[in-house]
């Protein structure tokens, strides 16, 4: 955790609000919400790629989204898994 700073009270208030809202939601609905948020993130990522590369075809946009997600996974998993090729 970072040392408290001038924004800490605001950060705490935002966190408190998130926690209180989460307590109002059922576990089952929050589980599914994670999938819906990913779908929303995909839409936004596609929009970002189109804005950055307006000449891209839809196939190229999709390929770039896949590449970026793969990169995120690579960073998150770095040093966390060892891979073996099947015999």
């Amino acid at each position: 955790m970072d040392a408290p700073n001038e924004f800490q009270p605001l950060m705490d208030e935002i966190f408190r609000d998130k926690v209180l809202r989460a307590r109002q939601q059922s576990p089952e609905s929050k589980l599914v919400l994670g999938l819906e948020l990913f779908e929303t993130a995909l839409v936004r990522m596609r929009g970002g790629v189109r804005a950055q590369f307006p000449h891209f075809s839809e196939e190229q946009v999709e390929a770039e989204v896949y590449r970026r997600i793969a990169r995120v996974r690579q960073v998150q998993e770095h040093g966390f898994y060892t891979s073996v090729q099947p015999a």
């Binding site: 089952e28 609905s29 994670g34 948020l37 929303t40 898994y81 090729q85």
Partner: protein, 163 residues
Amino acid sequence: MVTGGLVSNAHGIARATHDADVAVQMESGGFMAFAGSLPAALRLDPQISFETITGSQRHIIELSGSPFRIELFFLSADAHHQERFQRRVWKYLPDLEREAWIATAEDMIIQKVRWNRDKDRDDARNILAVQGDALDFAYIERWCDAHGTRTRLEDLRRSIPPI
């Protein structure tokens, strides 16, 4: 048993998750039959990987037309993984019209504190804050002591503002 980000969401604060982690108890012969029975929209990645902390064997299933994927973890001999699997709970998921075993909030915290990546610490802190006094802290502390992660747990608890 469903675990990972989806179940962290269920017990804590929902965030986008790009995979579904599932812990499975299966013989190798059974797994080959399972892999052979997958529908065409699901593709089993032939590459196998091992999680470095517990040695859990991971297989990845890719979904056709989506970057979302399913990660299957064979139940390992790790003592906490064994107990976590025994403590799993059966849930009906009305939005999916499915029933599933899911890991408990306590076991998610223990696992996340043990993995200790940025997103794991966030997930563990969120579950601690949302579940509050409903958690079995004696159980969590016992496993964090066994894993040598008690200091991490206490740091997370101290970081939570009064709710």
